[in-house]
Symmetry: C2
Subunit: 498 residues, 2 copies
């Protein structure tokens, strides 16, 4: 039986973990900080990956696979890169029973190993662009972890592209950010804000980092994907020069971009409720579950009817299962399938048999419709389509309701409430519990002077950071920085974040 889920209003962090564990999406690993992705969680990843991979290929990218072991010296070739990743490395020192001459790092990201090969493959402008992507596991040794959101090992994709010109690499960086934005909104129902990261939040080794940022139900931000313009940094570090169309030699321009299993955490935290998982229909392994409602004297006729319904849905290409387990009551099954996040429950009992109809219930809104059996597949498609649309709208409405324009520090303090900081101390068990009551605040939108000091002070005082400088809002940024009052340069989105 489905275990009880802690209510969001009681303990948001515990609610999240309860859903992950009770919906059997993931589980803890014997190795601290790693996770086991269980079949129901992995099925979400498979659907997400399939769709994203399709979109990558549609935009001309190819998949490849690079070794997970990287010589330690490779990371050191790019000064900012090694500084950024050193604290998080897992290091292999022994192989085949012997101590290795040079320690190997388990990839935290693959720029270095990939650019060491690009050197072999790129001689001339004719070899460019290289538009490669890789689906892989990576390791970043984290002290404080949370299933899906932050784990030592995680699954992700990392695109690594090489271009003739700066403009091309910048265009690729922008294109992939847009691929992520549309994918997040259309497929995951996650409304996101696309924009540029501040310098202090850039990827280690990038010239510019862009991100998409989503708001969770506790009003905190979650960075859901990043796209980096790497300039010629890695080409210089690995001496990757190409013969230009004019016959001279120049360093190659680069981008990289990635999303990870963290997205599953974002999906859970955006859509789910106190009854369990809510999934966008696009991501659901099963779109419909048929729950036959019978007693011993009418079991045969109800099951026959339910099987007929199953056949009709199946024939229309719907992903449907039937729960014919007779050791559990319909009520238990309703709760169980709500926990699992199946988008539509189809109830078929003796009254439905008599009226040649079924009852369909939407997981997210509870909307209930009764339709004639022959109209059920078309109605199911209609409900799924609406659910996909409305989940996005609902999340967007929530975000807008929790976004505030701020002009100065008073606005910011009022929005976030200074007392919340004390509740955000790290717990001692390695799992993070960031705030057990509903957080104040949300996204603050305000002008920023561009100073790192302002950023640092805000972070220290309120644990609030600049999420990004949203695209399309950077043209009229005259006015006073909401943090220090100096002349502003950017419009920024501020928030607490995962």
């Amino acid at each position: 039986m489905a275990e009880k889920i802690t209510a969001r209003s009681v303990d948001y962090s515990q609610w999240y973990i309860d859903i992950v564990l009770n919906a059997k999406l993931a589980d803890y690993s014997p190795v601290k900080g790693c996770m086991v992705i269980r079949p129901r969680g992995y099925a979400i990843w498979e659907r997400l990956r399939g769709e994203l991979d399709r979109r990558f290929k549609e935009t001309g990218h190819q998949n490849a696979y690079f070794p997970m072991f990287i010589p330690m010296s490779f990371l050191q070739k790019e000064a900012e890169h090694v500084e950024g990743f050193s604290p998080e490395l897992a290091v292999v020192t022994h192989g085949g029973g012997e101590k290795l001459e040079e320690p190997l790092v388990v990839r935290p990201t693959s720029e270095t190993i990939i650019w060491s090969k690009y050197r072999d493959w790129i001689q001339s402008w004719r070899d460019l662009p290289l538009l490669y992507n890789q689906w892989a596991n990576v390791v970043r040794w984290e002290k404080r972890t949370r299933l899906f959101l932050r784990t030592a090992e995680f699954l992700w994709q990392e695109g690594h592209t090489a271009h003739e010109t700066k403009a091309e690499a910048e265009a690729e960086t922008a294109q992939m950010l847009e691929v992520y934005r549309k994918f997040a909104e259309e497929y995951l129902c996650l409304p996101v804000i696309a924009g540029r990261k501040s310098d202090s939040e850039k990827f280690a080794g990038a010239v510019e980092t862009y991100s998409i940022e989503a708001m969770m139900q506790d009003k905190k931000a979650l960075q859901a994907g990043t796209s980096h313009f790497l300039g010629q940094n890695f080409a210089k570090a690995f001496d990757v020069q190409y013969q230009t169309r004019e016959g001279s030699l120049d360093y190659v321009w680069a981008s990289s971009w990635g999303v990870s299993t963290r997205l599953i955490g974002a999906i859970i935290m955006t859509h789910s409720d106190d009854k369990g998982l809510v999934l966008p229909p696009s991501l659901a392994q099963d779109e419909l579950v048929i729950v036959p409602i019978f007693k011993s004297d009418n079991k045969a006729s109800v099951m026959e009817y339910a099987n007929k319904a199953f056949g009709l849905f199946k024939a229309e290409g719907l992903r449907v299962v039937i729960d014919s387990d007779d050791s559990q009551s319909p009520g238990w099954k309703f709760a169980e399938w709500e926990m699992r996040g199946v988008p539509i429950r189809v109830e078929a009992g003796p009254k439905d048999v008599a009226s040649a109809s079924v009852v369909m219930v939407r997981r997210d809104s509870g909307e209930k419709v009764q339709v004639k059996l022959e109209e059920a597949p078309a109605m199911a498609k209609e409900l799924l389509k609406r659910m996909q649309k409305e989940l996005l709208e609902k999340a967007r409405t929530f975000r807008e309701a929790n976004t505030k324009d701020v002009r100065n520090m008073d606005d910011i303090l009022a929005f976030y409430g200074k007392e919340i900081v004390a509740k955000n101390q790290p717990a001692d068990d390695g799992e993070s519990h960031e705030g057990t009551s509903e957080a104040k605040g949300g996204f603050a939108r305000g002008l920023w002077c561009g100073s790192r000091d302002c950023e640092a002070r805000l972070k220290a005082e309120l644990k609030v950071t600049i999420r990004n400088l949203p695209s399309g809002m950077q043209d009229n940024c005259s006015g006073a920085c909401c943090l220090c009052g100096a002349s502003a340069k950017h419009m920024a989105i501020f928030a607490r974040s995962y």
Copy 2:
């Protein structure tokens, strides 16, 4: 331009490496023993994986993902398992800048970490069976490596199932062997011999190991997949007991099974020729390449025609590309696309335009047909279908022609030729070059007494091992062991192997 490929008759090992590198399937890694899978090689893996995954799901399996790091102590819980894998382990000793309390092993296979979790998930017979599979990278530190065939890190799938009864686990082991056999033959065009491994060749920790064995063009065997009946070994090692239907406690029964990127090596070595890669159409990213043949005065009309042909093929769902690069001659392009292994070349020149036809050439047999343009898509499908069938037949014919029934040691010595041993010494460069001239021998089929001593002597003297005891041939094994003359128990397939 395509580099020259060493002929098989000159140096078979070099021929193989030439194809892998020149067809850009894979490349060496900066870390010795690892490999980079380039887009054209990875595309083969993606198709192979997609089809096999479909077959796994069709037989009721689900995908999951377990951590790649395994505590060293886990391996030690199963005595044979740790003994078998210890020499090949990569060991992580440091994480996040600190020395780890317990070293972590990078998975060489995942039985131990998976069974440690099965303990949490299995309480009762109602929780069984668990039919899980994982697609992952694994590491086995090898001294002598060869691209695809044997690399320190490789990609694979590993199925791990848990069952109530011995019979069920045995049936699963047999079922997956049969899934592999059919997949190898139908999809990869690899004829294989399915059978049980001798005790000395079993997986470390298995009760029985079964394999499918293919013959390469140098007449050596390649183990292309394995399925293990694990008995209760891992359940006992990790104390995984379940409540039976009768209410008592019993250990869970297990199977595991896997295939890897090694299959790509097998495909290359089975089908390719001295011009380059030959791929079964099922695996080809592009089934057809259109090569327009034009001069400057007829380029426009030829290109228009070629594009029309492209549209017709595409409309019929065929995977087609057009090579309109005008910096290369048609002859160069023919050689290049032969190297890449595209199953059908479509030639479209001015004469074809005039006669409203195209010429199609099969990559494997060189068969050439001229057909009217409107009939070309149907003809292409026909040719691809025949090619898929005939590649399997050709490989099977080759294997049968190089399989000999042997009665005694004289037969065996005559078949393999004793002098070949001297040529098979390991090279010093870490890459293996096993025999540079065409090997004698092939598969020897003979009776075996079951003694490890006979096996060991044969291996020491001729580098020949028992590949497996073929299924369906174990019923009438009376007679004398072909190695020692004692009373035989099994029919065995003997061969040199990769």
